[in-house]
């Protein structure tokens, strides 16, 4: 049976009819064609599917779309500025070589933006703990941590 689910995705109203068992990530990727959110492990380990729900990082492969009814969802497609220039965290990943193959990057960036909110001086240790739910199979953690530290400062000064 299909059921309606309505949410705000990247600031725009989205309303789709889906099977009740549909995951949030499936709605984002297959219904709304926002394929920047990735499915890596599909078992809640890797964090490639991380999006924001009402401002908080969550794993979109580990929740039903119905659990996001009425919520504000932000995906990687929604973080850049309207003129196309990069979000400070995206710019920091580019500047500090925070990605290799790029598969984990959308999840890393989404988690990072939430993690550093209001914490411009977040420490390396705090960043590493904050990344427990995101895996990089290229093992590029060192530059990811550097990028996030720089992104935290850039986000604070951009305000």
């Amino acid at each position: 049976m299909t059921i309606n689910v309505s949410m705000q995705v990247n600031g725009k109203a989205a309303s789709v009819n889906v099977e009740e068992r549909t995951l949030l990530v499936t709605v984002l990727r297959e219904e709304l064609r926002l394929t920047g959110t990735h499915v890596g492990c599909d078992t809640a380990q890797c964090g490639a599917c991380t999006v924001h729900m009402n401002g908080k990082a969550v794993k979109s492969c580990s929740m039903l779309a119905m659990q996001a009814e009425g919520a504000q969802i932000l995906t990687i497609e929604g973080v850049a500025h309207a003129d196309g220039s990069l979000h400070p965290m995206q710019a920091a990943f580019k500047e500090h070589h925070g990605l290799q193959c790029g598969f984990c990057t959308p999840g890393m960036v989404m988690n990072a933006i939430d993690l550093v909110q209001g914490r411009p001086n977040i420490t390396e240790e705090e960043i590493r703990h904050g990344l427990e739910g995101n895996l990089c199979r290229c093992t590029g953690y060192h530059n990811i941590v550097k990028s996030i530290a720089a992104g935290a400062k850039a986000m604070a000064s951009a305000k």
């Binding site: 099977e19 809640a44 969550v58 659990q67 427990e132």
Partner: protein, 266 residues
Amino acid sequence: MYAFTYHRPASAADAAALALKHTDGKILAGGQSLVQAMKLRLASPSDIIDLGTAKDLVGISQKGNQITIGAMTRHAAVEQSAEVKQLIPALADLAGGIGDRQVRHMGTLGGALANNDPAACYPAAVLGLGATIQTNKRTIAADDFFKGLYETALESSEIITAVTFPAAKRAAYIKFKNPASRFALVGVFVAQMDQGVRLAVTGAASCVFRVPEMEKALGAAFTPESIAKIHVSADDLNSDLHAAADYRAHLITVMAKRAVSKALGQ
């Protein structure tokens, strides 16, 4: 995932009525275990009763020396709560170590207890502090709640509404993490209460359990040394690819000593 019918009750009472009607249904809290189990087809409920909109199940309140946490309160909210950090810092610390931060934004106290995963963290705090579980029907003491592997005292249509934790004089939780899942290979929660010391172990056996011999020794002298020679038998402990039973037995004493040191601020 197999198909199911989705329900969105507005309150715990409505959810209980739905659970009574759909006996092959499941209550959905944060979904961090249930949704994964359904994806793997380990669970195939006919109906999903989503507590996400039951507003009467969320919140943290302090009354004297006790803190009551609504069943649908997320781990991250407990981790960051000023009241919890002030009155029972060990509980905030435990909540902040569950899974990862994305999981903590969704996972709930009630869901974790109703699921009673043998390696979950929350059961150790609930049993270790001697908390009280409130349901839509009755009040259950922690000592009577955890029954076995994924098994609790809850009846089929019974829903946890809140948990009340008493403050401890001193308390701490330490877990030896499985590095991939961050579940406890062995986790120990120790609490020095007015009535004596309580010590609960998670991750080691089919279900969280207390260690009376350690509690007695710590009651006499609350130091890591007093339990250094107390060993839990490996007979009923879990053996799996992560750790053999005798290794888990060894870890219990090590983690218990570290928990006592942590409670003492060492």
